[in-house]
Symmetry: C2
Subunit: 451 residues, 2 copies
């Protein structure tokens, strides 16, 4: 039997299994769903075992448990580690849902439910692709599964779990289906994510709020000063002036820029969707380059002085801001953090006290497109979707991917089958049935290719 | 009898009259003191009549009443309009007072009570100086008194009262004792006050907060933009770059700068008192010039984006600031308001929407030092204090003084006898007895000189 026909003849059962997971409201953000987390983890072990895992267990963490399963064919063969999460986002506002979020419904060729895509649906594509590969005799590697229950709340326990279970999680590559494709017509693999460095900066002037009439003009105003410091970080071309900031930034190759230019992108629609008349960014780069392959600098919050109603004539004592840079692969957030702090120290005037404190950071991620796992994923997707997928870098950060690289030393293939229209995290989340099957097919074909 | 000996032989009565006013807690900020406002106004009419006024009445306004009194000698003679206020500031925190704020006490050569200086004490110097001038046969002009009951809450009813009573308030000069001298050793007259223009500015970027990973670098951040706009208003020399801003600023004459340089000023003490390591202001001017005779630009408040605990990676939709310029005499706040708005429009980038709204403004004030009333005040003060007073410009604004000039067309002599050590608005407000007498003497001598 072929992969396609195996999927075709088993699809009702695949739905049933997915629906059984969906019916457990495993909302990690709400404490009252604690028992559901356990139940959902246990249900996954049953499905993983029946799908072909040799063993499947629920493992404790300091937070919600982790599901671990494996099928070990031979220690000589390479090992794929499949990561996913079984927790889902809250469902409010409930009155916007056209059907019960925890009772999956099939309408208009789609599955409608919380988790239909993110990430119960996509995890099921992985597991059923794994099953299909076994039944079709395509599996040439060992497979391990790790499904966590805290992704939607920032994976607070996962890093420790990885550190404590390095041997168990030993593998050659990580496979994740938790991202989206560029569009229904354009299959894609996510090959890059940006890193992040984040600071709080505090500028203190006088020891109390002063009368702006008696002191204004003679005493440095910390809000004015903070604005000058912030404004000085970027030049008129939108480039960050911190010495050394771009040292490790890899310039985009002509081939990469060409690939980005091939991504369909309607600038007018983009502007309209966020309500701006014009876009702005680093000179010499396109919008899609700016928001995925180039670093950025954003003030995330600012406050100081009198912010109530009416007018208070005050020269404030203090001003603060939260600021961040998105980093591109190869920029080390620790080096950048240090550079920013040195830069601010070097330009801070002596008439105020400037304190800058790093609050957190994370590394960017880049997946080489010449490794066997990437090539296998590319070919598998081409088989299932009829088109070679684009390699696409994204502007956001998925901290766990960088954590996997740091802690386990593993690259990740971001083989996501989501679509923007699936409305993950929102009411009426859904997943196209044909993409559910194509996802399963891609995973099965991946195992045919990967060895 | 001489002025000095008249004061000497009547001083106990002067105290008694002042103490009777102090005992009425006329706190304008607290509604529960409404009956005290009326009582205090009535008490003033009694004192004004017994001091030599022909008539004294309590006049209604839309807020607290105004006390009006007059002594008209002849329509041919010039008229002095004495302005003061009978309301006082709240007294909290009460436990810091060493004696009852409303039961005046004499200790260590000072009167201790709320209003001992501001402004019951200083108003009493005016009224008893007026009485002394009459008894000593020195009065050569008509005198009118207007004491309001809302100065400490911003004089909300006074402008309308002046507009409705222009004829009644007709005069040649206004005399006010409600400011301070430079120091106990340095008698001074306040000859200038700064004006003010105040705005709120709002920068809107995308129609909602955006994910800084997905959009950062490609969409203008309104907080970054606001900081750039604010930072651009002043150049590296602390000068305001708005075209035309300095057009009406009168450059200080060498004589004026010399007078300012004669004011004793300890920069180290000044810095220590406000807790800064260094001062900052317009290049080429001293601190005392910067905070009184030069314009200034201060952000009074700023806010935008995420300001809570922790780090949120957001590209905010909006950022706002409250900003003000202090203006020097001859700068018209309406012209400046328009200039600022035009400037901001001209530099606002098209990738955000910038709204600027003037919230209020006020004119600066300058008193010519060659008019008869100033010369009379100078001579009177020299007689009482033994030193020619310095003409001093102050950085703050007293909006009513500009209102008097606008509505009544009158200049004001700011003949204040306060001292910083008197702790007005604070617990343990006081007034030196010897300065109380010197104040009365100055006023009596003013009437000797003024004609």
């Amino acid at each position: 039997m072929s992969v396609k026909s195996y999927i075709e003849s088993n699809r009702e059962r695949f739905w049933e299994e997915l629906f059984s997971l969906i019916s457990i409201p495993s909302i990690s953000a709400k404490h009252e769903h604690q028992p559901d987390m356990e139940a959902c983890a246990r249900r996954w072990t049953e499905i993983l075992l029946s799908s072909g895992a040799d063993s499947a267990v629920v493992m404790a963490t300091k937070g919600n448990p982790v599901v671990y399963a494996e099928r070990i064919i031979s220690p000589e063969l390479p090992t794929v580690l499949v990561y996913s999460h079984y927790d889902v986002m809250p469902v409010e506002p409930l009155d916007l849902w056209r059907s019960d979020p925890f009772k999956a419904e099939i309408r208009d060729g789609r599955i409608w439910a919380r988790g239909a895509d993110d990430d119960k649906g996509q995890a099921m594509m992985q597991v059923k692709g794994f099953e299909t590969a076994i039944r079709e005799g395509l599996l040439n590697c060992n497979v391990k599964f790790i499904f966590e229950g805290e992704e939607e709340i920032g994976s607070p326990s996962l890093e420790d779990f990885c550190k404590e279970n390095k041997e168990l999680l030993k593998a050659d590559i990580i496979l994740v289906s938790d991202t989206s494709m560029v569009s229904p017509d354009i299959p894609s693999l996510t090959t890059g994510l940006r890193g992040l460095a984040y600071w709080e900066i505090e500028v203190t002037g006088p020891n109390r709020d002063l009368h702006s009439g008696h002191f204004g003009g003679a005493v440095a105003n910390p809000v004015n000063t903070l604005c000058k410091l912030i404004a000085g970080i970027q030049d008129e071309n939108g480039r960050i002036v911190i010495p050394g900031f771009y040292d490790d930034v890899e310039e985009l190759s002509p081939a990469e820029r060409e690939m980005i230019a091939r991504i369909p992108f309607d600038e007018e629609k983009y502007k309209a969707s966020i309500g701006v008349n014009a876009l702005y960014g680093e000179t010499g780069y396109s919008t899609l380059e700016r928001n995925s392959c180039r670093p950025s600098f954003d003030i995330c919050g600012i406050w100081g002085g009198y912010t109530g109603e009416g007018s208070k004539t005050v020269l404030p004592s203090k001003a603060c801001a939260k600021m961040s840079t998105r980093l591109v692969p190869h920029q080390d957030y620790r080096k950048i953090t240090e550079m920013m702090e040195k830069y601010i120290e070097s330009v801070a005037p002596d008439n105020v006290t400037v304190k800058i404190r790093s609050t957190h950071g994370g590394q960017g991620y880049v997946c080489p497109i010449d490794i066997p796992a990437y090539k296998a994923a590319e070919k598998a997707m081409e088989t299932a979707f009829g088109k070679k997928p684009l390699a696409v870098r994204r502007g956001g950060s998925i901290p766990i991917i960088a954590t996997f690289e740091e802690v386990l030393g593993l690259k990740t293939i971001l083989m996501g089958f989501g679509l923007e229209e699936n409305a993950i995290h929102s009411p009426n989340e859904s997943c196209r049935l044909d993409y559910f099957y194509k996802g399963i097919e891609t995973v099965a074909e991946f195992y045919r290719e990967f060895r």
